[in-house]
């Protein structure tokens, strides 16, 4: 079979699968049927396109074939009630004009409906993540299972329960009302960001970070007016751009010591292009993105606009107070003003209950003390941090810093 047919099909599926699934879920109310009908249409394309030639409009062909397949399945089902539903679905499909070219204007809403339903707060977080990767991102159950290190049947059950719950708990298939939108958008972004951070967590699964970025791009296409959506995409790209410089031969490298030529230029450029339109009030994702973008713009640590970073941390603390943000702000103050001023800011945090037992505070103090030339004190702080480091990787990184000091 011609590779060009496979490529055409892959491209058409990448562009249209979500639209077709989302509109079939609306018309048939049957999630599995919608996914199966699209998979079936793709299989049919593989059989008929090499024989009959690629249709003039592959997207419209796939849409029509999937719709017909779904209707066939409903018609063949035996109960009267299902037949009535098929009639309703048929009517809706007729009104849409099944054979017409795909109307992107109307169907954009279906994709949003699907996203908001998969990320509905009445679903457990685990279910939201699984549904989003399976139905929105279009991964197979096996792929999602492998990414979360669970057996495939377990993931299959989780997805089945989630779809049942959507029907049984009366979770609607719609875009939330304007009044609820900011909160619900935050909910969707939390799912995507969780997928992204899983890509960097202990068992680091890079595919998850890439899927999260793809989801981020999709959400931005669907909601170009929501700056937090754009902000999250910029934030993820900025972190992802540094992946090869951040982890060298299994060792963590701090931002300051990263070889910036190893940053992924395409990701850096995409992140930098996602700046905030003027006149908006930045939300937490936007502020975190701007922090990351400020680092991306600098040629090295000394060239970094630390005063801007301090201002951004101040605004972030205002919208989303957290002791870890306060700690990072103190370090930035140390860079913008002097290590002594930074140490003063850290002293304010010394007794914060949320920071007790973590390596972050002594590691930050060590950093500023070393910059001030107080190596012996820095070494003592690093010794404390070493006993608290949560992972072997971080412990080794602290040990390297300890070895670089001239201390005892």
């Amino acid at each position: 079979m011609g590779d060009d047919v496979r490529e055409t099909l892959a491209a058409a599926m990448a562009a249209e699968r979500l639209r077709i699934v989302a509109s079939l879920i609306r018309t048939t109310r049957d999630w599995d049927l919608a996914e199966d009908a699209v998979a079936d249409a793709a299989e049919r394309a593989l059989l008929t396109w090499p024989r009959d030639g690629v249709p003039r409009n592959p997207a419209a062909w796939l849409t029509t074939t999937a719709q017909r397949r779904a209707l066939d399945v409903i018609r063949r089902a035996s109960t009267e009630r299902v037949k009535l539903e098929a009639l309703g679905a048929q009517q809706e499909l007729d009104e849409q004009g099944g054979d017409q070219p795909v109307d992107h204007g109307v169907l954009t809403d279906d994709r949003l409906r699907l996203v908001f339903t998969c990320c509905h707060p009445a679903l457990a977080m685990e279910a939201r993540v699984a549904l989003t990767l399976k139905v929105v991102a279009g991964l197979s159950t096996g792929e999602v299972a492998r990414m979360f290190l669970v057996p495939e049947p377990t993931m299959g059950q989780r997805l089945l329960r989630a779809k049942k719950r959507i029907a049984n708990a009366a979770i609607p298939y719609k875009v939330p009302e304007a009044a609820d939108l900011p909160e619900r958008v935050d909910g969707v972004l939390a799912v995507v960001y969780l997928v992204f951070t899983q890509g960097y967590a202990g068992g680091a699964v890079p595919e998850l970070a890439e899927e999260a970025i793809r989801l981020g791009r999709l959400l931005r296409d669907l909601m170009p007016e929501e700056d937090e959506v754009t902000g999250l995409l910029a934030l993820m790209l900025a972190h992802h751009a540094r992946r090869d410089a951040r982890l060298v031969d299994g060792e963590l490298v701090t931002l300051e010591h990263q070889d910036r030529t190893r940053w992924d230029r395409a990701a850096v450029d995409e992140a930098l292009s996602l700046s905030m339109p003027p006149g908006r009030v930045p939300g937490p994702y936007r502020l975190q993105a701007e922090l990351a973008l400020t680092h991306l713009r600098a040629t090295d640590a000394a060239d970094t606009d630390w005063r801007r970073i301090v201002r951004l941390y101040d605004r972030l603390l205002h919208v989303q107070p957290s002791p870890v943000v306060s700690l990072n702000r103190a370090i930035a103050v140390g860079m913008a003003e002097s290590p002594a001023v930074g140490l003063l800011a850290l002293a304010d945090l010394a007794h914060h209950p949320a920071l007790q037992g973590l390596h972050l505070l002594p590691a930050a103090r060590a950093d500023l003390l070393a910059r001030a030339g107080r190596d012996a004190e820095a070494a003592a702080e690093l010794d404390r941090a070493l006993t608290l480091a949560p992972t072997e990787q971080e412990r080794r990184q602290l040990a390297r810093r300890r070895a670089e000091l001239a201390g005892p």
Partner: protein
Amino acid sequence: MKFLMLVSLDPSRDRSDEDLTGTLEVEDWVTKYDDAGVRLLGSQVRMAEDATSVTRREGKLLVTDGPYAETREWIVGFDVLECADLDEAIKVAAEHPMAVGGRLELRPFVD
């Protein structure tokens, strides 16, 4: 569609710092949603110690006092709501003062 809304006390909650923003007085809530045709029926019910449990096991009728299970939350009332979907029911429930002091549970009717 119809939803059963169970209203429960949450005895584990510290009730001193209740922030009732966004909720209505219970009388106002009832009037608002009765008038809107959303609340079809509802009442406070007696506490768990006045409950009677009825079971039939191997043909034998068993009547016992008290609730059927040890539950940490105590059902004190219920409402039957007519709403388009869960989102609408959540909106209605969110204005009930017991959303703050206790816990509301939405159960769609099986149609």
